[in-house]
Symmetry: C2
Subunit: 350 residues, 2 copies
């Protein structure tokens, strides 16, 4: 999508001094600074996923694939390559797309060697990235059919183009609807503890000139009760075979509140997010992150520095669950690149 008048993807392959490099937007500094970082090794890419320089289901899928391709270029040893894959895999535990991106590249280079092996790895990584972008665009086209002119839409966290290679999932239908001339207003959940809604979703929507307001996560339910929200669209990090949906912590709360208030609740995700080997939501591992993400807030000081402030007592303890599981019964439909299905009808897509 467009940043300062120029088209960008969140993560892409480039060349510096005849060497392949992976570039990505540093999402940890957004919306305060727009910075592009360059990585030459899979270790650097793994670290960028772990520290959330890049984040979001599809973006770390693309980063995983590109990182794995760097790994292929770094070693001819099968043992070392397996180790690299392990390191990449261990960066984040919940998102299905990460494992998909890594495995695509790994599977492609089996039985290859030399130049052909490297070429295949980079081509496959590029294919994974393009596929993600194409899928997201199709999700936008299908999802836009649900959007009527004048709707107020609620979204949680960032499942926009920054969370994917391009277009995004939850926001893609809104971007497509805008291009169709429909008026849409978005209530953006701030999405604590890391505020991806306030930081990234609001930034994306403002860049696309879509009117929006940031609300505290606590306010979504009350706006639903007051009839000010017509539809909820969120993304997903993994969808179990039974239609249970893992997504950013707080998604479950919004889904229950949507149901209670008779508001349609949609999940937008490419079919690569579906894990048919995972029978139910209970089988999805839930990442517990460092408690400092709850005890501190990060942002831009009045004197222009990106700093943290403590918002809790010294020595306080926190529990920081990064994702939750929304049981299928709360999900109106899942918007995929192959069409919109009921969560119980996922198997029909495969």
């Amino acid at each position: 999508m467009i940043v300062n008048g120029k088209h960008h993807r969140t993560v892409w392959l480039d060349e510096e001094n005849s060497q392949k490099v992976v570039k990505m937007i540093n999402q940890s500094l957004l919306p305060h600074l727009f910075e592009i970082v360059t990585y030459k090794t899979y270790q650097e890419v793994a670290n960028s996923i772990k520290t959330m320089v890049t984040r979001g289901a599809g973006a770390i899928g693309g980063a995983g694939a590109f990182g794995m391709a760097l790994g292929v270029a770094q070693t001819n040893s099968e043992r070392e390559l397996r180790q690299a894959a392990e390191i990449m895999r261990n960066t984040r535990p919940t998102a299905q797309n990460l494992f998909y991106g890594i495995d695509c590249v790994l599977n492609k280079v089996t039985d290859l060697s030399g130049e052909a092996r490297m070429t295949a790895a980079f081509e496959e990584a590029q294919r994974v990235a393009d596929e993600d972008s194409d899928n997201c665009k199709k999700i936008g086209e299908h999802g836009s059919e649900l959007i009527r002119d004048g709707m107020n839409i609620s979204t949680h966290c960032n499942a926009g183009w920054l969370a994917f290679v391009d277009w995004g999932t939850a926001l893609s239908p809104i971007y497509v609807a805008k291009r169709q001339g429909k008026k849409v207003f978005v209530y953006v959940d701030e999405t604590g503890p890391r505020n991806q809604g306030a930081r990234l979703t609001a930034w994306e929507l403002m860049n696309e000139q879509i009117p929006c307001k940031i609300i505290d996560d606590n306010a979504t339910g009350f706006l639903m009760q007051r009839g000010e929200i017509d539809m909820v669209i969120v993304g997903s990090d993994r969808i179990a075979a039974n239609g249970d949906v893992a997504n950013k912590i707080g998604t479950y709360e919004k889904a229950v509140l949507a149901k209670e208030n008779g508001i349609p609740f949609y999940v937008a995700a490419p079919t690569t997010t579906v894990d048919m080997n995972c029978p139910t939501g209970k089988d999805i591992p839930i990442e517990e992150r460092n408690q400092d993400e709850v005890l501190y807030k990060w942002g831009w000081s009045d004197d222009g520095r990106f700093i943290r402030i403590r918002t809790s007592p010294e020595n306080a303890e926190a529990l920081n669950l990064a994702f939750d599981v929304t049981p299928a019964k709360y999900v109106t439909g899942i918007i995929t690149e192959r069409g919109i299905v009921k969560p119980t009808e996922l198997a029909n897509l495969f």
Copy 2:
């Protein structure tokens, strides 16, 4: 309650140079700095309520009464006194206790003059403060009967002693249960946008040596789904005659989630919070506060300053509703100083 080994109330009357002054804990700097401020005029007290130097239903009830008594001391003119009451009343629109505190003092001085008028005003303000503290203690005694040894309790915002003159409402049953030798663990909702849970409730609980963890507001529902929360207790800023409860934004969300997960949801409040002139929750005015409270976060920097950081894009807009209304059907019971009642049986208390 105890701070650094010494008993404190949140707001109290004192004397400096033979002049009555109102003192209060500056809650805007907690938990980083413990500071006591002194006010000599009702205008200063009004400003302290507006800017949330003091906040919470009972604390601003006490501050309203003490401020009004200063107003009585400042003027003999009936017209000026009405004006002072108007200024005090216009500081915050939602909390019933504020109006109660102001009106108690106003009604007491009608037909009095001179020394008797001033004495009556300060005595009545003191009575309002003592009544608040006594009511909260009784709420703790009644509420403690609901708490079994080993329970995990969830609370939203701060309805502890800082929100009242002493003891608090939602936290008072926990303080009493602790004194009865029961083990209690508290999940503290951070409570955005102003983080009163992370800042004030965690600080109170840690001072009282009650084990607790701060969680992001988005995590409460998932912990309920996982069976890790046994009961919810929150406070209230105003209760309508039909049992609908106005409280900090997000309370409605937690109430719906508690019901969905079969978890008892209690509201603790003195009967002074009940507004029998307010038929339903729809008649309670909901304060909309400055959008900067959502766009920025306030806290303590690593170099020891209380500062704000921006957590949203430049020029972003926010909507900042400070309270919501929880319909009576989600409330298991209301814990008052006169006992625990169903929300539909409020009238029996009067």
